[in-house]
């Protein structure tokens, strides 16, 4: 069989599974995001409680996975407990190749277990394993270590798991895979937790046929050569995404201290260059990716009370983590920042949401909206990492009303305590680390995930530093075109870092060898259709573009392109949705 069209359906309530051939879906929607949104539409009833047994978890991979370099991602879809509508998150690690090697194109998990469970998935289906002995383990790292010893498949398996944040239903809890990759955004970890699902391990040994062996090898060599020779790929390999810190700080587009400002003289301490020079301990890659963008710091520190006794902690860092847990919180001491990243990783929280929630709390405290009676005695101050670390623990454990509110996200917390003008979320999802100009914000508002990855609005802003800023309507058209195309990439499923390599012809050619014939010019329409499906799901669950809240802070703090005009944003957002359904 060529295309990965089998869908594994696992029900946690009845502890049964079935396998269905859904060639119908894969033929039309390719795989990944396209298939995932169809399955979500099919299995998520309207108005489902995101933390109820009705909410399905969908994982989907695509026809290029396991065949071509950089086709390394799995798309997860679910109803988000953070935004109440579309939850979509992508992760690499070994997840994608593992799912396809186990013989599946997608996995749908439904129902909820009465007692803690973990799933062991292979080509013979699902083993429902008792997880009562590992439930309550707060560390996502420890959970991974235990399952690694319990299960087979070393080298090719994926181990997806949650930490304490997922168990405690923090609305922005993540699912961690292979220690350093995440289904980070929009709360998949809480959906796992609500189903008493601690982990999933998947492995298999299937081979994938191609339609034309010679053409396959030729196409492979062409993609491989371009991947290893590309300067963009070199950037991700050398310093990694953290190489963006210095340019953004220089352009004054690096959100700092809850976006009160966009630059800091101390930013160099937490720059990719400094971290590489002093801490970079290892680079690792997702399966089938020559780039190895995953940068891991080795932090060697003494135990305080015992001389000559050291521990070395391996802590992953990326641009968004440095923004959210560094500049946004004024934590410019690199060791302190690495500690905070480590804490957030271990508990299994989304780093971006956590940083934005805490930066709002710090400003709310400055302004007297919250006091130490709310924070259980903590006094939030920019740069005070030990206090933030304690707050992270409280967000997970939710010992009082205040931390319970923080665990629901910054939108919710600011509705309860005030300070909505500087509660930096878009569509309920906390802001990414680019205050580059108006188009980045139009992207956060209109993107189906409210993420910078939806359509890369920041790159349009950055181009406007040298050229002219497009008018609001032209900006909307550009964003829409990019986001529609990204639906194709995330249906294959190719890492967005490889978007320069997988142009339309390359996509069509590689798909053909994978057994999926499609004309290059038909891809645009398909991408747009997938994007519409995603937006229809959002609207079905109550999303209204006209009611999008834009935090006033966005207009107060100048971007590299000057102050942002609210009218520009509103006009562009309106145009985006007009074009989407045109």
């Amino acid at each position: 069989m060529r295309l990965p069209t089998r869908v594994l359906m696992a029900d946690l309530t009845s502890r049964r599974f079935t396998v269905e051939d859904r060639a119908d879906l894969f033929q039309y929607y390719i795989g990944g995001a396209g298939v995932a949104i169809s399955l979500l539409n099919e299995y998520c009833p309207k108005g489902a409680d995101p933390l109820g047994s009705d909410n399905p978890i969908v994982f989907a991979v695509g026809p290029l996975v396991g065949l071509y370099p950089l086709a390394s991602k799995t798309v997860a879809m679910f109803k988000s407990p953070l935004t109440g509508n579309l939850g979509e998150s992508h992760a690499g690690g070994r997840s994608a190749v593992a799912i396809r090697s186990a013989g599946y194109g997608a996995i749908v998990i439904r129902g909820a277990s009465a007692s803690p469970v973990y799933l062991s998935i292979g080509d013979k289906g699902v083993q429902f394993r008792d997880a009562s002995g590992i439930w309550g383990i707060a560390s996502s790292v420890t959970t991974g270590r235990i399952i690694r010893e319990l299960e087979t498949g070393a080298g090719t398996r994926t181990i997806m798991r949650i930490g304490g944040a997922g168990e405690r239903l923090v609305r922005y809890a993540s699912v961690i895979t292979e220690t350093y990759r995440h289904f980070g955004r929009l709360g998949l970890g809480a959906v796992f937790g609500s189903k008493k699902l601690k982990a999933i391990t998947i492995s298999g040994d299937h081979a994938f046929e191609v339609s034309d062996r010679r053409l396959y090898r030729e196409t492979y060599d062409d993609i491989y050569r371009r991947a290893v020779e590309s300067p963009v790929m070199k950037k991700y390999h050398d310093i990694g995404t953290a190489s963006n810190i210095m340019p953004l700080n220089l352009q004054k587009g690096l959100p700092t201290m809850n976006l009160k400002t966009t630059t800091s003289p101390e930013a160099e301490n937490i720059s990719g260059e400094k971290l590489a020079e002093n801490y970079l301990g290892r680079r690792v890659a997702c399966a089938h990716c020559p780039v190895a963008c995953i940068h891991i710091a080795a932090l060697r520190e003494p135990y305080e009370k015992e001389p000559y006794f050291y521990k070395t902690t391996m802590i992953p860092y990326d641009y968004e983590l440095i923004y959210a847990l560094g500049s946004m919180l004024g934590v410019f001491d690199e060791k302190a920042m690495l500690h905070l990243i480590d804490d957030v990783e271990i508990w299994g929280l989304d780093a971006m949401s956590t940083g934005v929630v805490l930066s709002w709390a710090t400003e709310a405290m400055e302004k007297g909206l919250i006091g130490q009676n709310d924070t259980l005695g903590l006094s939030f101050k920019w740069g005070d990492e030990p206090t933030y670390a304690k707050a992270v623990e409280y967000i997970v454990k939710q010992p009082n009303e205040f931390y319970t509110a923080l665990a629901r996200g910054v939108d919710h917390a600011s509705k309860r305590y005030g300070g909505e003008d500087y509660a930096l979320a878009f569509g309920g999802n906390e802001m990414p680390g680019y205050h580059t100009g108006p188009v980045s914000h139009v992207g956060y508002l209109t993107g189906s995930r409210h993420s910078h990855l939806d359509a890369a609005g920041y790159s349009i802003d950055q181009a406007a530093l040298k050229d002219k800023l497009p008018d609001p309507k032209a900006a909307a058209a550009k964003l829409l075109k990019e986001e529609a195309w990204r639906q194709i990439l995330s249906s294959l499923v190719v890492c967005f870092f490889a978007r320069g390599i997988y142009d339309k012809d390359t996509v069509a050619k590689s798909l053909e060898t994978a057994g999926h014939k499609v004309a290059p010019e038909a891809l645009d329409d398909k991408g747009m259709e997938i994007l519409r499906e995603k937006n229809r799901f959002k609207e079905r669950e109550g999303f209204k573009a006209s009611e999008l809240r834009i935090p006033g802070r966005v207009f107060e703090t100048a971007s590299p392109l000057g102050k942002i005009d609210e009218k520009y944003l509103r006009e562009s957002v309106e145009e985006f949705y007009r074009l989407l359904y045109a």
Partner: protein, 135 residues
Amino acid sequence: MTRLTVVDADRCVGCQLCMFACNRRFGEGGLAKSAIRVRSAGGFERGFVVVACRACPDPPCMKVCPVDALESRKGGGVVLKAGKCIGCHRCAEACPMHAIFWDDEANKPDICVHCGYCVNYCPHEVLAMKEVEQL
């Protein structure tokens, strides 16, 4: 004769391109028939182990084959005569490196032939083809 050599496993990023390359020799995607394997050394934080045939001059796998399906390869290692193989797994059990893998579908061992194809796809200089050096 050269053989596949793991020159520096510390440079390995775990991308597994070598594994995919090995499998691609059979004109397929995936990893089912790969005769080289990369796994973490107990979690990604600890780095990677590259498991590959070292082309023993006196191969233990060959000695235990009950049907003489493994023949000595010039320059070390073995060549599988698949027609003779009865799929008994003894060769895989005898390899101290655990470098003989199993093709469940065919019920035959996957054994490195030291062709060097994987080396072409290692972007991080972990693998090379080198002459066998004797101590």
